[in-house]
């Protein structure tokens, strides 16, 4: 398994399409006062960066999508997307703590609420 290792990931959590975004609307309304009058459709979300040990990139993405849906976001009003998933240079991983060695649920929003 040549790809086993540690992966750097960046997850975006954003309001689902169509959900009102008062914060984004406020930013958009304030921008023209600073001369930025060509900015439209502002949406404010959050980005979360961490590293994950996984058997391969696919497994790293999968576990990231799962945890993003269950902990990092409120699936009632938010979507998540894994924006970046790439190997961390030179990192080695002990076996036994590797995501992808077992089945991982990939559907975001499948859980997260008790």
């Amino acid at each position: 398994m040549p790809d086993v290792g540690r992966y750097e990931v960046l997850v975006e959590v954003r309001l689902r399409p169509g959900i009102a975004d008062p914060q984004g609307a406020t930013v958009e309304r304030a921008l023209p006062a600073l001369g930025f009058d060509a900015v439209h459709r502002v949406r404010v979300g959050k980005a979360i960066r961490f590293e994950v040990d996984a058997a391969d990139e696919r497994a790293a993405r999968s576990v990231t999508a799962d945890l993003a849906g269950r902990l990092l976001s409120n699936p009632v009003i938010e979507d998540t997307e894994v924006l970046v998933c790439r190997p961390v240079d030179g990192a080695t991983v002990a076996s036994g703590a590797v995501a992808g060695a077992h089945d991982v649920h990939t559907e975001a929003g499948s859980g997260g609420r008790p």
Binding site: G18, P22, R113, P114
Partner: protein, 774 residues
């Protein structure tokens, strides 16, 4: 112009998917004289949903007494309004936001607060207080904890930001609410009597101006889907999620100020908030109330999203929007006010003549009889609501405006008492074995709600004289723009699903009695009542029986005490997995303190004071927390009350509370009986008590109505006043020391009781949300 038939004519499946029955769909066709278009069908579906039309409950609600000299506006408008003297009126309304809060607790509760605020300032009143009765399942359930934390955070997040104090509420935990929490929200507003406005469109040619937020797909179908269908499997909850509405308290704050300025300057002829059913409701109701019609240009509605269909625009429940009716000459001034408050204002429609007068504008006021001959419907002459696709564009909908509300179906649903009613009533909890020591039962019933209300800013506006945690909230009657007044307002929200489960009729009577007594403990006399009727599935005959009984109980108690019902809300289909919630009518009584000259005595004891019990002695335990929660016994017959004696008690208590320095503490005997009332007085003041002469656990835990504990340095004066009022008064013991002792029944240190009291809620919930710990 004839409406353009929808290209995909509304079929059977469509009206059912929208929640309309076959009969209802047929009725729509009969009203229109043709099949409805998509837009029409969507508007009827939301307006005829249970949530908007009260189709199951209206027949029963008519039995409530709604008239009194002080009532300026009764049920049916956005809020009830009563004249409290000094040229000041008070607007009050309570609503439920149960189903949205079950799906997304933070936004569900937050938008509930936003909606009730708009109902109040729509009437021209400045909102000055919010209260929130909340009902959840047991705290052992992690989902309940998630719901509690989300709902409380949503209420505080919105209320604190918008600048209106959340001054109190109710908190009930019972297993029946586990999957269907109840979130009721109440708002109180004040206005100079002459600023009172009603949501009416008048004057053909006047403009309908949409104020506030952009329109998105928020809550599309939310009213009919979310509020009018029970919760089934978990998967169904997921499917309902896209219609969550998001609140924006800062937009609401701007909207409040803009609307009140528009009303102060007489720049609008009518104003209406947008709530359930959105524009469809606001346009049809303003037009119908004014006896006018309205043309709405759906393209003129500013949108947040691309590609919205006209039916989505008309039924969207996007928050923080109002519809103002403006004379064309005032439009520029209205726009200037809105610009100053950074509120968007868009002309979306025009008021039109009622049918029959159309095309005969010159005839207005000429006294000509309008014949109203129309082949499209059997309606008397009335305005039509037309939805146009651009000015002069295609007619997407053309309906009699009043038909959306007035012609909504009215159901006399079958009702029947539960089959085992007599059996349950005859199972008296007096037969339960007496506890050898009542201390542990008392401790288990103590619960300090401070974890909840510490998250609310209850001192905003600086009118709060008595905040959360006592019997009634007491507020100064003051706000910008009001004439000066030395009066105060007292307010209490009350519920008791245990009583109402045992006997919905008598339980609701006792509820009204208790709420009025709470207000008396604030030194006030009751002037109005609003209610929020939370019940299960109205298609179950037992639920309809509960509703009918509760209405009769409320009517009878309100008549006996002379309190008019000025508004209400009905929330049905509160069920999960086929199990209905216990009947949960919530009442809120508003009282007036004629001269608020000092802070009234609170729930407290003073060292050395004498503890006196006012009211009758009782031992009945049916429906009590001791029987239901501690022993799992849900039967028996509630202890009846004497309404005439209760009315005298109300006067006595308000009189004692108003006397300078006579009372050191006052608390009505309610949940948990004398035991919990005494413990709460002791715990809130840090002063112990020793009392005696209590007739066993029955008298200790009985929750029968009409009893009050007072602490006084002058018991002779209290007893004399009670004798004058014909109310029983009995010295129970003295305040002092560091123990709570009821001779032969309870003996516990204050410290141990305090640990049980404080920990009951806080130990289960997120400590980071409690400002007291940070």
């Amino acid at each position: 112009m004839e409406p353009v038939p929808s290209e995909n004519p509304a079929g059977e499946a469509l009206h059912r998917a929208l929640g309309l029955t076959d009969d209802e769909a047929a009725q729509i066709t009969a009203i229109l004289g043709r099949p409805p278009t998509h837009v029409e069908l969507a508007m009827y579906a939301v307006m005829w949903s249970e949530h908007c039309s009260y189709k199951s409950s209206r027949l029963h609600l008519r039995r409530l007494p709604t008239e009194a000299p002080q009532v300026l506006v009764g049920p049916g408008e956005n809020a009830g309004v009563v004249d409290v003297g000094d040229g000041i009126a008070v607007a009050i309304r309570i609503e439920s936001h149960n189903h949205p809060s079950a799906v997304e607790p933070y936004q569900g509760a937050a938008t509930g607060v936003g909606g009730i605020l708009r109902d109040i300032f729509t009437m021209g009143a400045r909102p000055i207080a919010l209260m929130d009765p909340l009902f959840f399942g047991d705290l052992d359930d992690p989902r309940t904890r998630w719901l509690v934390e989300g709902v409380v955070a949503g209420i505080s997040g919105y209320g604190n930001s918008v600048g209106v104090p959340t001054v109190g509420g109710e908190l009930t935990f019972a297993p029946g609410y586990a999957r269907n929490p109840l979130v009721n929200v109440l708002c109180l507003g004040v206005l100079p009597v002459d600023r009172l406005v009603l949501g009416r469109a008048s004057g053909a040619g006047n403009l309908a101006v949409l104020l506030g937020s952009l329109t998105g797909r928020d809550g599309i179908g939310g009213v009919s889907v979310l509020a009018s269908a029970g919760f089934g499997a978990e998967a169904a909850d997921d499917a309902k999620r896209p219609s969550v509405q998001v609140g924006d308290p800062f937009e609401e704050k701007r909207l409040i100020e803009a609307c009140l300025e528009l009303l102060d300057r007489h720049l609008v002829v009518g104003i209406q908030d947008l709530g359930g059913a959105g524009l469809a409701c606001a346009t049809s109701e303003t037009a119908a109330r004014g006896g006018m019609g309205m043309d709405v240009d759906v393209r003129a509605v500013p949108r947040r999203e691309d590609g919205m269909a006209p039916f989505e625009v008309m039924t969207s429940e996007s928050q923080e929007r109002m519809l103002a009716i403006v004379a064309p000459a005032d439009l520029a001034a209205v726009q200037a006010v809105c610009e100053r408050w950074e509120v968007r204002a868009s002309v979306v429609g025009t008021v039109t003549e009622p049918a029959g007068a159309a095309g005969a504008a010159g005839a207005v006021g000429s006294g000509e009889v309008v014949t109203g001959a129309t082949t499209m419907s059997a309606h008397p002459p009335a305005g039509r609501l037309r939805i146009l696709d651009g000015p002069g564009g295609a007619v997407l909908a053309d309906v009699p405006a009043a038909s959306l509300s007035d012609d909504a179906p009215l159901y006399q649903r079958p009702l029947a008492p539960p089959a085992d009613l007599q059996q349950r009533r005859s199972a008296d909890p007096a037969a339960l074995p007496a506890p050898s020591d009542c201390t542990s039962d008392m401790l288990a019933m103590l619960l300090d709600p401070a974890w909840v209300f510490r998250q609310y800013d209850h001192d905003l506006l600086l009118n709060t004289v008595v905040g959360p945690g006592g019997d009634a909230v007491v507020l100064r009657l003051a706000a910008p723009g009001l004439p000066p007044s030395g009066k105060g307002l007292a307010l209490s929200t009350d519920s008791n699903p245990r009583w109402c489960s045992v006997d919905p009729r008598l339980g609701t009577e006792l509820l009204v009695a208790e709420s009025a007594l709470n207000v008396a403990c604030g030194g006030a006399h009751p002037v109005a009542l609003v209610n929020c009727l939370n019940f299960g599935n109205p298609e179950h005959p037992e639920v309809m029986w509960q509703l009918s009984e509760a209405v009769d109980g409320m009517a009878s108690a309100c008549r006996a005490l002379g309190i008019p019902v000025v508004g209400g809300n009905v929330s049905l289909y509160n069920e999960s997995g086929g199990a209905d919630i216990d009947p949960t009518p919530v009442v809120a009584v508003l009282g007036v303190v004629e001269r608020l000259e000092r802070v009234p005595p609170s729930v407290a004891l003073a060292d050395g004071g004498t503890i006196v019990a006012l009211g009758p002695r009782t031992t009945g335990l049916a429906g009590s927390r001791w029987a239901v929660e501690r022993r799992g016994h849900r039967g028996g017959a509630l202890t009846p009350w004497d309404a005439e004696e209760h009315a005298r008690l109300l006067g006595l208590v308000a009189d004692l509370v108003g006397r300078d320095g006579l009372l050191q503490g006052v608390h009505d005997v309610a949940d948990g009986g004398i035991a919990v009332a005494l413990a709460e007085c002791a715990l809130r003041s840090g002063v112990g008590a020793r009392v005696g002469g209590i007739d066993g656990h029955g008298e200790l835990f009985s929750e029968a109505a009409g009893r009050v504990l007072v602490c006084t340095a002058d018991p002779a004066a209290v007893e004399a006043a009670a004798a004058g009022a014909g109310i029983g008064a009995r010295v129970l013991g003295r305040a002092g020391g560091d123990r709570i002792v009821v001779d032969g029944l309870v003996d516990v240190t204050l410290a141990e009781a305090a640990a049980a009291w404080r920990g009951a809620l806080a130990d289960h919930l997120d400590p980071s949300r409690d400002p007291a710990t940070s």
